[in-house]
Symmetry: C2
Subunit: 200 residues, 2 copies
DNA sequence: AGAGGATTAGGACATTTGACCTAATATGTC
DNA sequence: GACATATTAGGTCAAATGTCCTAATCCTCT
């Protein structure tokens, strides 16, 4: 199956280019050039630009699912898993400073142009949201779990946006420390005083 | 000066369209159509697409400066002024849910395509950052003022991003309440225990 | 009122770019 | 060699940018 290998390469390069330049600014020729194949060959695998986009979103979804599954196997402590999520902004700092969050910037762009695949792109965010909710539930946060999940997800998007704009490593470090402290506080509170939602 | 009026109209419509569709997806024809003028007239005022972008960014800068100045006159209490900033996400909720943050989404797009005006767009974020820093300084936060400013700015970007993705009003309300509480706590802490930076 | 500059409409045209398509060729497999 | 699979090299077509020009109209000043 040589076709499958080529197809994968196309999706990989397209993923990178769409991340780096945005969907609208990424052309057939760009991707074909990056892969090193002709435009015609490209069309053999994907009949339209939207098809590539769908494939890229699908790949991102699968990649993130795998990532989350790995974290699930790494530790039994939900707090540790939440910390893994938080630390992505440090692990991927260089790319985030250059291109922002791959998920956030794509969903924003697709929402603006009212693209049909926008909903699919949102599923990646929803995947993170639901996964985080489950972690907070395991922590014993009960009804506040989903609010906490959105809080962390929102935090990550804000940090990514400012990191891209200002390229300020100290800012990222500070924010990570703060939210890690917050997460720990959430865990410690859930035992005895599980109400104060504003105790961030 | 009829030309000035026309020019302003062009910039206004261009501002709206670039906000709603993004810079890359907004064409000359789009803007000319929205204003209701001919293409020839259009080129009489702007010789290139980049020129319009610059004018739009300039307008946004001036608009925001005026907005901040107004808040400065509204209240002597820096905390109240910070609250004004925080509440933008509620005041502009409808548009944010549709198109995200005008400033954040534009800076992200321009950074990706490595556009020369990206730096100018970043100035709007810097304007907010510096203004917020001044408010926290007035609150007596000292060396933590700029970190607090970035924290609030980052918060607003995160909320805007998720608001656009999930269109969840309750989430926005919750986040606003939380950060308002945090801001108040920052103020109350500065009197006696001004160190705990993580006390968010 | 009229001269003259400023503004607007409208269109012709060159150029580029990108999405999309096709016919011919290559590659490998049986 | 036959056959399906994979790839290439071209070309078409529409849209967008950018340039230029001409003829109206509007405004202002005298």
């Amino acid at each position: 199956m040589k076709a499958e290998a080529t197809r994968q390469k196309i999706v990989e390069r397209a993923d990178e280019l769409i991340y780096a330049k945005g969907f609208g600014e990424t052309s057939f020729a760009d991707i074909a050039g990056a892969v090193g194949i002709s435009r015609g060959n490209f069309y053999y695998h994907f009949k339209s630009k939207d098809e590539i986009l769908d494939a890229v979103i699908e790949k991102r979804l699968v990649d993130r699912e795998r990532l989350l599954a790995n974290w699930g196997e790494t530790s039994d402590d939900p707090l540790k898993r939440i910390e893994c999520f938080i630390k992505i902004v440090v692990v991927n700092q260089t790319k985030i400073m250059a291109y922002g969050c791959p998920v956030g910037t794509l969903t924003a762009e697709l929402a603006k142009i009212d693209h049909g695949s926008g909903a699919k792109a949102n599923e990646i965010l929803a995947l993170f949201r639901d996964w985080l909710t489950r972690q907070f539930l395991e922590l014993g946060c009960g009804g506040e779990a989903s609010a906490h999940a959105l809080h962390v997800l929102s935090w990550s998007q804000g940090v990514a946006t400012l990191a891209q704009a200002f390229k300020d490593e100290a800012f990222v470090r500070r924010e990570v420390e703060q939210i890690l402290d917050w997460a720990e506080a959430v865990k410690n509170q859930t035992g005895h005083a599980p109400k104060s939602a504003t105790g961030r």
